[in-house]
Every structure is written in C-alpha cells, then in structure tokens.
C-alpha cells in the first residue's frame, strides 16, 4: 500500500496525476450476455484488474515509464496495461 502511494505520489509530484482508484475484489460481479450474472472479478480469463491510474503524459513512452514504477510488477506474472483515453478530439 505504502509503495503504491509512493508511486502515485511521485507521479502527482510531477503534476502528471489525473485520477485513479484501486479496484477491490470483494463484491465484484461479471455480467454476461442474456442477463447472466456470476461472481467476479474473474472474467473468461484468469486475469483481473486491481486498479487503474490516469496520468498526463506527452507520449505513450512517457506513460510506459510511469508504468514501470508500479509496485504490482514486483509480483511474478503481473502486468500493467497502458492505454490512451479517447477524448474524441482526434488527439487524445
């Protein structure tokens, strides 16, 4: 927890933090077609998202550099997915 807060704090100190949340595993559900609902957070595959953070980066490479600092990467088999947020203005 402390490590995660430090990592986020470091990004925030550079004025590049835009938001984020941990995503607890408790009370998670998965909704399938035809109104089928199962307990989550597991989808079809055995991977699940533990949280997300929104950063302000000049490029995907800069965002990747931020991602490299994420503490979950200390766990084997963990990964951080980096995505752009679509703002519909053709740029972001």
């Amino acid at each position: 927890m402390k490590q995660t807060m430090d990592w986020i704090g470091g990004i925030a100190a550079q004025n590049k933090f835009s938001g984020g949340n941990g995503l607890p595993f408790a009370d998670a559900k998965v909704v399938w077609p035809k109104n089928v609902v199962t307990n989550g957070p597991f989808g079809e595959i055995k991977e699940t998202i533990g949280g997300y953070i929104i950063v302000k980066a000049e490029s995907v490479d800069e965002a990747v550099e931020f991602a490299k600092g994420c503490p979950v990467l200390q766990g084997e088999g963990n990964s951080v997915e980096v995505r752009k947020i679509a703002k519909g203005d053709g740029t972001h």
Partner: protein
Amino acid sequence: MEQEELIPHLFRTEYSKIVSVLCKRFGFDQSEIAEDIASDTFLTAAQTWPLNGIPQNPTAWLYNVAKNKAKNYLQRNSVFKNKITPGIKNSSTDLFESETEIDLSPQNISDSQLQMMFGICHPSISPEAQIGLSLRILCGFGIAEIADAFLANKETINKRLFRAKEILRGEKIKIEIPGPAEIDERLNTVLTTIYLLFSEGYYSTSQNQTIRKGLCFEAMRLCTMLIENDSTNKPAVNALFALMCFHSSRFEARIGKNGENILYDDQNTSLWNKDLISKGAFFLNAAAKGNQITKYHLEATIAYWSTQKEDTKEKWENVLQLYNRLLQIEYSPIAALNRTFALSKARGKQEAIVEAEKLKLEENHFYFVLLGELYREIDDEKSKQHFLKAISLAKTQPDRQSIQRKIDNFISK
C-alpha cells in the same frame, strides 16, 4: 489606554462591525455610503474626543453616532422623503423609527459580518480582490496597509477594490449566508480567501512585521466567526483553523532580530507557542468528522507534524504519505518540493535525488535550494552550483542571504 492609541485600536475592532452592519443594510449598491458613514464616525470621534474627553463607553458612543449618521442619511434619501413619508405621516412614529433604525446588537453585528464574508468572497471577483475587500471591509485595514501587504501601490489597490464592488453590484450578489445546497461550494471560496490571507501574512515578502502578524491574526479571526456559527461550522473550517494555529505557533521563532528568516532547523523551540499548538490539536480533532478528507485536513496534519521537532522516521513517513495524498487532490510546486524533502528524510537522499530531478521546476528558486540540500555531502560541488542557481532566482534579499549562509557553511568546512 492612551488616547492616541485608543482611536486606532477601536478603528481596527469596530470599523468592520459598523461597516458590515451598514453594508448589509444598504447593500453593495450603496456600500460607499456605508463606508463613508463609518469613516465619518471615527473622524467625528477624532475631532471631539480631544476637546470633550473620552466618553465613558467609547464603543457605545461610536455606535450611537454611526446610527444617527445612518438615520440622517436614510431620512434625507429622496425616495424615502417623497414616496414613503407622505404615506406614513399619520401612522405611529414607531414604524418610521424602525425603518431608519440601525441594529448594532452583538447578534446582528456577527450575523452581518458573516453575511458580508460570503458576499465579498464570491467567485465573480478575483481572489486578490476578495482578499483586498475582506481586509478593507471585514478587517478595517487602510488602503496604505493593504498596499503594503501586497507590495502594490495605493492606486492599484483603490482601483482593484472599486472594480470589485462594481462587479458585485452588477452581478447583484446577495449579502447572505448561502442555503444548504450551495453552502459547501461557497464556503470553499471563503476558505480559499482566508487561506490566501493567512499565507500572505505568513510567507509575505513585506518587511512590516506588524502587518504580517495582523494578516495572520485577521485570517484566524474570520475563521473563528465561521466556527462559531452552526451553519458554517464544517470539518474543513476546523481543519483550516488547526492549520493556522500550528503555523502561527512558530511566528516568534521564525524572524530574527534583524528581520532575517530563521529556518526551521535553526529555530529556538522555546519560542514556539504551546497554547497555539494545543489549540491546533483541539481543532484538528474537531475536524475529524464527516466523510471527506479535504486538502485542509491533510495540510493541518502535516502542520501538526511540524510542531514535533524530533527527526523520527515515523514523522517523515507520515509527512510523506500525507503529501502523497495532498498532491493527488491538488498539485502545487511547493507541495511537490516538500514531498520530495520528506522522501529524503524517510527513504534517503539517493532516492529523493532521483525523484527531485523529475520535477523540473526550473523557474522556482526553492527547487534549487532543495537540490542543493539533497546533494550536500553526496556531491558538494553540485550542491554549491544548485545553491548559486537558487540565489540567482531568489527574489528578496532575506531569501538570498539565507541561501548564501548555506554556501558559507560549506566553504568554512
């Protein structure tokens, strides 16, 4: 109290009360009249007290004179004369009296001041204008004093206040405490103004110590008014007050005999005001309600840790985590620098240097002071370069001098 001191003292405490009641009564449309009546009252006192002696109850005397001047004004007002008096010529004089009566009871004074605070601290005028008007109307500061506090000239301040009043008139801003739906948002604006007012006094580059202490004191006084009223006594308000208590506890220790800034590590802790520290702790506890952690809560808690001089790992780990959260809520360069300093104390200089170099606050002299501090004893040459860069960017002589003292400490080693 000697007569020469009495009127200025009363001016400071009573002017804002009289103006607030009159402004509330007359509205922003006629705020000039309200200020004129209040000023006239003190002018009359200054003229007659030397001749007739100081009245038994000076405050009551002032209130009576203010009431009479306001009454005269209202009665002379042509709308009143031509449209209303004919209609009530035959009704009891009580009605006539109550229309022109000014209520200067303690309750109406504090209600009016609170309402004026919300009227003045309104997002339609700039933050500088909000502070300027607050100082003038709520705190009884003179234009010269406000100019000194802002390091501006009197014409600038006059224009700023004039323009602000015009906008408030134009926007028809109401002088009232907002309802429950709006109050949190409007309170934010008020708290920001109070916070800026306090910061102006605490960090001011003005050399006038009396003004600086006055600004901090006024900010705390305005905050107290919010605490004393049920509808505005919110957790964030208590947190802000705690923050101001903790900071001002070090006022005496921060300024040296020659007006130089004494840095935290060099301060004489016996000059730290323990009463203010306890007061801060009390209000910080009072703020621990509700479901929101505001930036004031975080800053107040950080300020609490500042009142504990010992350099423990616990202190710096706590401060680091608090800054981590604060930066997520609201970024500021100073918070980023302080966070990095806390990081160096909690995790070591090497890690902090890495983080510091990512900050890239190249225009900010504090950035280079931090880098200078971090490189000390790791790479003294680099450290000195950073300090020199800091001096070149520093804006005031006291700042330059305190950085120079850091360099001198190296050379003598």
